[in-house]
């Protein structure tokens, strides 16, 4: 009898909407945020490599990502001025709020790649907002509670993000693979793509004003099933596992 009741409870949890059951997960993180945070700090400290470079890799990546973003914004602004000279134009991210958040706990295994952060709806966060780590986009907000939020990384198997590669004027969907990378498929081999090309998230009205760097092409080969399209592997441009904090772009919805 006891077994039947527990089994029934399990089935209720299984078929209950994710928005409802995620409240249990947020409650756990909220209650035990202190030991979880300590545990994560210890793990990061244990994994941190010895600094032997003159400039740390993280700082180098941060500046490279910033440069890529600014260059892309400059090029876009240049194109706008060229086409629409005489008309007023708003600068990208004007009026946007950047909410800084600490990572409480994270999971980057095969089945899910996500963080739980210490900012929520009360700080202006909402689903689908873009999240930055070291000046590059690392994912989007997937669930929000009052003071906590879940970030789905673009490497998560459930993540789908519209992206464009380097100078190509075409956008394609990028889907996570779960092993710290993502795949872009359905891009014809007629387009020139090479390893090391920068991948940008496409702008999304109300969420992202200008394209921003997501990652770099780590591998580019013809698709095994359909040789007329590329099978592109994208790797993040920052060490996501070593991040301590992130920034969320909260656009001013009135604009």
């Amino acid at each position: 009898m006891l077994f039947t009741w527990f089994m029934l409870s399990g089935l209720i949890f299984l078929f209950a909407p994710q928005s409802l059951t995620s409240k249990f997960q947020f409650a756990f993180v909220r209650t035990f945020s202190w030991p979880l945070g300590i545990g994560r700090s210890i793990t990061l400290a244990a994994r941190k490599p010895a600094a032997t470079e003159l400039v740390s890799r993280r700082e180098y990546d941060l500046l490279q990502n910033h440069l890529a973003n600014v260059t892309q914004q400059r090029d876009q602004a240049y194109q706008q001025i060229k086409k629409l000279s005489g008309l007023s134009s708003r600068f990208p991210f004007e009026g946007a709020k950047w909410v800084l958040a600490d990572i409480i706990t994270g999971s980057t295994d095969e089945s899910r790649n996500e963080f739980i952060i210490d900012r929520g709806a009360e700080d202006g966060l909402a689903k689908e907002q873009f999240v930055l780590g070291d000046n590059s986009i690392i994912g989007t907000i997937s669930a929000v509670s009052a003071r906590k939020a879940k970030v789905r990384l673009f490497t998560d198997p459930a993540s789908k993000m519209a992206v464009t590669i380097a100078e190509l004027n075409v956008s394609r969907l990028m889907q996570g693979t779960g092993d710290n990378s993502a795949k872009i498929r359905l891009l014809q081999v007629a387009h020139k793509v090479k390893t090391g090309d920068t991948v940008y998230a496409c702008k999304k009205p109300g969420f992202l004003d200008a394209p921003m760097i997501v990652g770099k092409v780590a591998q580019c080969k013809r698709d095994d099933e359909n040789p007329s399209v590329w099978d592109i592997t994208v790797k993040p441009v920052c060490d996501i596992e070593m991040l301590n904090d992130v920034a969320i772009i909260v656009m001013d919805q009135r604009q």
Binding site: M7, G10, F13, Q18, L36, G39
Partner: protein
């Protein structure tokens, strides 16, 4: 059964599983042991059947809270934990080798059912299933019996032989 100690042990294991367990993970393939699976088998082979049902489903709930989807692990841990407890009434799992084997088989079966239920719920499943289905149970099976000793001490539990004779 000391339920307060059980709750504390499950809580500690859940927190460790979410954070510090990464330290002992094989970083290349991200293979890490499942502390909650080890606890599941520990309580299934050391408790009475009724207690084992409660502990199995509770540990399943804890496993679900730290995963992406709620539901699959309550069912799989609850089901296989209960079956193992029933099996333990017939065949006593006393030797470390058999305990390892019990962890490995329970881990594999629970992972397979979790995978199926997650897929059934139309949620994203692990792209590399070998890790979940084989390497995690194997790693847990290797270290599991050694963790039984401090767990037995903490729960003030006797060995199987004494417990069975007292029952």
């Amino acid at each position: 059964m000391r339920w307060f100690r059980f709750a504390a042990l499950v809580l500690i294991a859940t927190i460790l599983q979410t954070s510090l367990i990464d330290i002992i993970a094989f970083s290349a393939a991200d293979i890490k042991p499942n502390l909650l699976l080890i606890l599941l088998v520990f309580f299934a082979v050391h408790c009475k059947s009724t207690d084992a049902i409660v502990t199995s489903f509770t540990i399943g709930l804890a496993a679900d809270i730290i995963s992406s989807t709620m539901g699959p692990q309550i069912i799989s841990f609850g089901l296989f934990g209960t079956l193992l407890a029933e099996l333990n009434c017939v065949i006593t799992i006393r030797k470390r080798l058999y305990q390892s084997l019990a962890i490995f088989i329970t881990g594999e079966l629970a992972a397979a059912l979790t995978y199926f239920l997650t897929f059934f719920k139309a949620e994203p499943v692990a792209s590399n299933t070998y890790t979940e289905l084989f390497w995690t149970p194997l790693y847990s099976a290797i270290i599991g019996p050694f963790l039984f000793v401090p767990a037995q001490w903490l729960m003030r539990m006797k060995t199987n032989r004494h417990w069975r004779s007292s029952r």
